[in-house]
């Protein structure tokens, strides 16, 4: 599913090169549930951006679903994101003053779906996350946990291959965090979703079956739990 080979990412803000990722290789198979851990500045965010097709590696190859996307243009990457990747962010990132169901429809808007089909699939996704009753609520009328569920519905609505969650529980209390993580586990187990969660909390990482640790732009540890 995800095959990363010797990728390197160097930023040059103001001329001085900063190595964010230094020769990273990793394979993630379909249906895996991976926690990516590491302190800030370890390169885990850069890794997530490249995996999520928001950024391109300076060198190395990234094969997603058998396709080498490391040389894709910005628009081509946008297309890949729209079809194959679902994002869940720490700050939920729902569009304000727009109802839950419309937020869930968002990825399909740029993918050529008919309005009716968009609505049908969005409601289906909301049912999956148990939020069908709040379909017409706006983000400011929902609790943090509910907003994150809407975001998860948005990430699964396109039948994306991979769900990328960046500190998905960072803004939530412990109980809600557990509920959200249980939802991820369920999606992984029942729907077979490939899930990658970035976190620095061991509690959250413990839901995953595999943990990858980053430090100074390198993978230092890659262990499977079961």
């Amino acid at each position: 599913m995800i095959a990363v080979e010797n990728i390197r990412r160097v930023y040059t803000p103001g001329g001085t090169p900063v190595v964010a990722l230094n020769d990273v290789s990793l394979n993630i198979g379909t249906g895996e549930f991976v926690a990516v851990m590491g302190p800030s500045g370890s390169g885990k965010s850069t890794f997530m951006h490249i995996i999520g097709c928001l950024d391109r590696p300076t060198s190395g190859a990234y094969r997603l679903d058998g396709e080498d996307v490391s040389g894709f243009s910005k628009d081509k990457l946008a297309e890949v994101r729209g079809k194959k990747i679902g994002f869940v962010f720490q700050g939920f990132n729902l569009i304000p003053r727009t109802t839950a169901v419309e937020n869930v429809e968002l990825p399909m808007l740029y993918n050529g779906f008919e309005a009716k089909e968009r609505r049908r699939r969005a409601l289906e996704a909301l049912i999956t996350v148990g939020l069908e009753e709040k379909a017409d609520r706006r983000p400011n009328e929902l609790s943090g946990g509910q907003q994150q569920r809407v975001a998860i519905a948005r990430a699964i609505v396109n039948d994306a291959l991979i769900m990328l969650a960046d500190e998905p529980t960072g803004n939530l209390d412990t109980k809600t965090s557990q509920e959200i993580m249980e939802l991820f586990v369920r999606l992984n187990r029942e729907a077979g979703k490939t899930i990658i969660v970035v976190t620095h909390e061991p509690d959250i990482a413990s839901y995953a079956k595999r943990t990858v640790r980053f430090r100074d732009g390198n993978i230092t540890k890659d262990e499977r739990k079961w």
Partner: protein, 409 residues
Amino acid sequence: MVNLPAIVKISLRALLVNRMRSALTMLGMIIGVAAVITMMAVGTGAGDRIAAQMASMGSNLLMVFSGAATTGGSRMGAGTMPTLTMRDTEAIRKECPAVEDAAPIVNGTLQVVYGNQNWSTIVIGTTPNMLEIREWPVSEGRPFQWEDVRSATKVCLLGQTLVDNLFLGADPLGQTVRIKNVPFTVIGILKKKGQNPTGQDQDDTIYVPITTGQKRLFGAQLFDMVRIIFVKAKSFDDLDSAETQITELLRQRHHIGPRQDDDFNVRNLTQIMQSAQSAVNTVTTLLSAIASVSLLVGGIGIMNIMLVSVTERTKEIGVRMAVGAKSVDIRFQFLIEALLLSLIGGALGIVLGIAGAQVFASVVGAPVIITLSSILLAFGFSAAVGVFFGYYPAYKASQLDPIEALRYE
């Protein structure tokens, strides 16, 4: 493929969220478009009125007036002293190469009586070619002929106002009207012509053969004399040379020495009208240009608000990009938002402009004409303003880096 209906919906919602801001931004466009529409309507109305009056006068016309009478040092004005003659008219017709035709006039205000009705009107004695020079056909009956002039027959042509006021719906043809107690047979009715450039009702008139007028109506003093000669030049370009030729010819015929004033007066009606028309056009263009400056200001207002909007919604742009929006999708979203602002503003401005023109018309009493082309022009202009001033903010939005945009707080 860009999903246009969905993007229009998103843009509309964004505008509705900031109602006050959108309304104020549109106001610039509304005022600009309304000003352009009103100015063009007023200008077109004025120009059209002048053109209609020009047409009603007949084209390429010169008028030669008799000289001013002088009584004890006080001069009375053009046409008060008849100095022109029938023979002058013939000479102008035959000897001036730039002249196509010329017709003499004697005139005076007299009372016309039919049955128990009477009406004071301008009685014009002239020759048959006058109707051709003035491009004024007879709508019923027949015009009088040269034969009528030679034998001074007592026939007349009635203007429409006279028909309305004397005959009250009866058929005037073949009836007899009395002027100064002289019976005239009505042989024709002049086609309705409307006001002349000075606002006079040209249909309030009666035409008789010039000889009949000279002998029967205006007394012996005017025998063989004419007050005005209407001259039609061969073309618009011949007007100036016609004026020079007539002046030279008449000075010679009237034996006027080099230091003496003319005892006649040539007026170039067509040129006067043309210069009035071009003055109106200049003013209209100027006012529209000033009005379109406010369109430009409105456009800058749109650009300003769109730049603010893009900055405010950086995070939203990042989210949209993360879920698959391509740069063209983002560009369209903001471009359509700007376009909606300018087009809705433009549409409201058109309504306001039409209303403004009507108010102007009823307050000032001047005619206004709202042309479809001015509406299309204003609408097209506001669309162009929207695209032109909306493009840069939209482009800026579409070039954002999704990672940076998502981090924006």
